[in-house]
């Protein structure tokens, strides 16, 4: 068990976000829906690039 005594921290927010998404999504107009997908793809790509840059940086600085 982790020192906190909670198996995974922050999942309560994830459950809320997941169920909330299904409610919000029903009220979203078609154009808004398309934009949301584009934003999600852009964010995911940015995170991926960010993670690669971080790993390269940490390998160079923290391990030396």
């Amino acid at each position: 068990m982790s020192p906190i005594g909670k198996p995974v921290v922050g999942v309560g927010g994830g459950v809320l976000a997941g169920t909330g998404a299904t409610v919000v999504a029903q009220k979203l107009p078609a154009t808004g829906a398309e934009t949301t997908v584009q934003i999600a793809i852009a964010v995911a790509t940015a995170l991926l690039v960010w993670a690669i840059v971080y790993m390269a940086w940490s390998r160079k600085t923290l391990k030396s």
């Binding site: 068990m1 982790s2 020192p3 906190i4 005594g5 909670k6 198996p7 995974v8 921290v9 922050g10 999942v11 309560g12 927010g13 994830g14 459950v15 809320l16 976000a17 997941g18 169920t19 909330g20 998404a21 299904t22 919000v24 999504a25 979203l28 829906a33 398309e34 949301t36 997908v37 934003i39 999600a40 793809i41 964010v43 995911a44 995170l47 991926l48 960010w50 993670a51 971080y54 790993m55 940086w57 940490s58 923290l62």
Partner: protein, 369 residues
């Protein structure tokens, strides 16, 4: 006839016990930091569990021979029990504090801890923080901030602290005899805490001002190994103590935590994709992903501000990966232990060789002052 007054033995307040196996890298530093944090050197004891490195010599350099015990390889909990018996610790002290051999105590940790100890409680635990390191340590800053500031306070309020963690665990000496240190478990701290709840020995005190720092895994491989051990130990202890089968508060609380974790998996992996497919609306997945990410980012920024560690935000994209690793390892351990009934009688393993690593320069100073 002369009536003799019963002899009153003066007990010192608190002993610090450090179990060690192959801890040559940090043992001397841990003892010196404990002294700096307010623990008298004469009240510190080390049990060396058949180390294969210089642990024993180092222990004898920093403490007197009467404070160091060398035992055959027996595992952390059993080694501690031998130390307690050999030096009659419970007869000589009112409280017994146990700490890991790589602990880094905050400047006034023991002064604060001793002052706050209240005999109406039967055990006590302090506040854990992560030492600076790579992305796993950065993730743990987020995790411990949320865990200690919000979750631990809630657990404390309702008397459901489910684990007295290894780096900061203190027991009232009169309950030590009631605890089974010999139980085969992968996570002895969790098992001991469940014993306290099951036997209804009393409440656990949370001392948030007593801060101690812990070294987190160096890389993803060590992280995965660590959480594999945690979750297998979690389910083994849940089985052993039949958590979820009684109407105790701890049963309700731990069941709630597990349901919440599995519900997260279900919403993210099954419910949202299924709903998106059924209603022909793929953007539901995008919306759920963005919402989850936004909450994670908000907590990360809050944790960075709280700990004055803006550097943790740099590793944010990897937090998502680590959280999913937690989830998948939790599911795997559930299948292994609860369904396949494996690891149930596994002996405790606490090999530290190769797990400990040199900290970043200035990490201890920056954290503790």
């Amino acid at each position: 006839m002369i009536k003799l007054k019963p002899t009153r033995i003066h007990k010192r307040k608190m002993a610090l016990l450090i179990p060690a196996r192959d801890e040559e890298l940090f043992l001397a530093r841990t003892v010196n930091l404990a002294v700096r944090a307010g623990q008298k050197r004469r009240d510190i004891y080390i049990v060396d569990d058949a180390s294969t490195d210089a642990t024993r010599q180092i222990a004898l350099e920093v403490l007197c021979p009467e404070q160091v015990l060398h035992v055959e390889h027996s595992g952390k909990a059993k080694a501690l029990k031998q130390l307690l018996d050999q030096f009659e610790i419970t007869k000589r002290y009112r409280w017994v504090h146990i700490a890991d051999a790589d602990s880094v105590f905050g400047t006034d940790y023991f002064r604060i801890f001793r002052k706050a100890l209240n005999k109406k409680y039967i055990a006590a635990t302090g506040y854990i923080q992560s030492l600076p390191g790579d992305y796993v340590s950065r993730y743990r800053v987020y995790e411990y901030a949320w865990g200690m500031e919000i979750i631990r306070r809630f657990q404390n309020l309702f008397g459901v602290i489910p684990v007295i963690p290894g780096p900061t665990s203190c027991f009232r000496s009169d309950i030590i005899e009631k605890l089974d240190f010999g139980a085969n478990t992968l996570t002895e701290d969790f098992d001991l805490t469940l014993q306290i709840h099951r036997q209804k020995l009393g409440r656990i005190q949370f001392i948030p001002k007593a801060k101690t720092f812990t070294q987190d895994p160096k890389n993803f491989h060590d992280f995965r190994k660590q959480i594999n051990r945690w979750y297998r130990g979690l389910f083994v202890s849940l089985r052993r103590h039949r958590i979820g089968t009684k109407a105790q508060k701890i049963d309700i609380y731990i069941s709630y935590l597990l349901i919440q974790a599995f519900l997260y998996c279900f919403t993210q992996l099954v419910y949202i994709p299924a709903m998106a497919f059924l209603f022909g609306q793929p953007y539901w997945i995008a919306l759920a992903f963005l919402g989850d990410l936004l909450i994670l980012l908000a907590i990360t920024v809050w944790a960075a501000l709280l700990n004055r560690r803006p550097d943790i935000v740099a590793a944010f994209p990897l937090f998502y990966l680590l959280r999913w690793t937690y989830m998948l390892v939790l599911l795997k351990a559930f299948i292994e232990v609860i369904i396949l009934k494996r690891y149930i009688n596994d002996s405790p393993g606490w090999e530290t060789r190769g797990r400990r690593y040199q900290l970043l320069p200035g990490a201890v100073e920056r954290s503790t002052t």
